[in-house]
Amino acid sequence: MSAASPLGRMLLTAFLGLILTVLPLPSWLEVVRPAFLVLTVLYWSVNAPRTGGIALGFFAGLALDVFQGPVLGQHALALALVSYITVREHQRIRSKPAFQQSLLVFAALVVYELVVFAIDGWTGHPVTSSLRWIHCVTSAVVWPPVAALLSYTATNPFGVTRRS
């Protein structure tokens, strides 16, 4: 966190998260694919709440809506809500060990998926299969390595993300 503003790294990692989220995968992998963009937004909401915060969540969600939302604004609302919660509680979350952070990430993803699910229902695209909840678990599982990777880019201003 030594650089003046992590905005460039934030946008770059959010873009990578988006790519990982829309990358075509075989269908069995698609179900367990962690929500990389949500994890990235969570990371920056906890570690740089002043820079990105809720705006980052909103625009990342809007980008996700363009790729896979039935209605624009769905993921934007869900991600803005999740990043609001994490920005509010960022100091408590930051001080937790990785395992407890994973549990909190799981809770955040359940909230996120609940909002997406509710809006799916209201807009007339209900997908009631329980498979849609699996990614909450896999995302929580991959949270420690993802957070470590993101903090590596944050503490390494002369690394690969330099050109951003």
Partner: protein
């Protein structure tokens, strides 16, 4: 990262207002955008622009599979090419033989209908499109094709391959279009059992190899192997295009409905190309285009009228059959 003493809930120093304020702002914005997109379709243009902006990313994301396919094709052996060529020649001959008979049948059909000349074929124009991106999860079965509004593609257009129905376009961008597959859990397609003429609805099961027919009574005349063709209702697909073949019929004495599964005839996962079809307006079998939003409601108290057709007519919510709402009338 020293502590600045910002307790949870107190406004953060720095850019932006307090988290509560900016969250409220963005939440209201998101809800307004959702309302405009869902109810009013005011931001079609915004979606169009966003889809154009997303297209390069989608192309880039799909470049590894495309590169692999290109490499495989360029290193195909002479033997493989020759056998391919022979197979295609044989197929072309078979199709020519079928087409020969088709002309006679079309004339005969015209005579039976009391028409002076045979009807023209229902498909007016075809356009091949390449699959750019394919999502085949159990929740979403969509694909992105490399043709868009600049090629004349419109929303709710039929997409076929050489063996059957694939789906219909949902969002159309300038150079790309998103296609919802018939196997998507949100898609419902009005079909007819070819052998008996029984009409029903085929709903996607979120699985590339199966469709569900959830609305058939348990005494319905349906067997494994029956061919399902489009029934021409719903306004997207014309009548008589092959869709799927029934694979299993499960009848339970205590259940009022039979559980029927069918396997789609189109092989989306194996295709590299699909066909977009324009139908000849005025042909009796052609689908009538969906009415444009609320303007087409019949006169009278709007609250007492049937709902306007959903903007994707083949998507029918459960328990609501398109057959019951709008019997299709030939335009002639």
């Amino acid at each position: 990262m020293a502590a600045f003493g910002t307790a949870a809930g107190r406004p953060l120093q720095g850019r932006g207002g307090s988290p509560g304020f900016s969250f409220t702002l963005f939440a209201v914005l998101a809800v307004v955008v959702m309302y405009l997109d869902q109810r009013a379709h005011y931001i079609e243009r915004v979606r169009y622009v966003l889809q154009a902006a997303a297209y390069p990313i989608q192309l880039a994301v799909n470049s590894p599979p495309t590169a692999r396919r290109w490499l495989k094709e360029s290193f195909a052996t002479r033997d493989a090419l020759e056998s391919d060529n022979a197979r295609l020649r044989a197929r072309a001959r078979d199709l020519e033989l079928l087409a020969m008979r088709y002309d006679a049948l079309a004339r005969e059909n015209g005579a039976l209908r009391g028409l002076s000349a045979a009807l023209p074929p229902v498909a007016d124009r075809w356009l091949a499109a390449e699959i750019v991106n394919l999502q085949m999860s159990s929740l979403r079965q969509r694909m992105l094709i490399d043709r868009g509004a600049s090629n004349g593609v419109f929303e709710g257009q039929a997409v076929l391959d050489e063996s059957g129905v694939i789906g219909q376009t949902t969002h159309v961008g300038p150079w790309s279009a998103e296609v919802i597959l018939i196997t998507d859990p949100e898609h419902a397609l009005p079909v007819r059992i070819e052998r008996t003429g029984l009409r029903t609805i085929a709903v996607g099961a979120g699985d590339a190899s199966s469709l569900a027919l959830p609305y058939l009574p348990s005494n319905a005349d349906v067997h494994g192997g029956d061919l399902l063709v489009t029934s021409g209702l719903g306004g997207v697909f014309p009548e008589g295009y092959p869709v799927a073949r029934v694979t299993e019929v499960h009848r339970d004495a205590v259940q009022p409905l039979a559980q029927v599964r069918a396997a789609p005839l189109a092989h989306v996962a194996a295709d590299a190309e699909v066909m977009l079809v324009w139908f000849r307006q005025g042909q009796p079998a052609a689908p009538t285009p969906p009415p444009n939003a609320a303007g087409d409601l019949p006169a009278g108290n709007p609250a007492m009228q049937p709902l306007p057709a959903p903007h994707q007519p083949a998507k029918a919510p459960a328990g609501h059959t398109p057959e019951a709402t709008a019997p299709q009338e030939p335009p002639q």
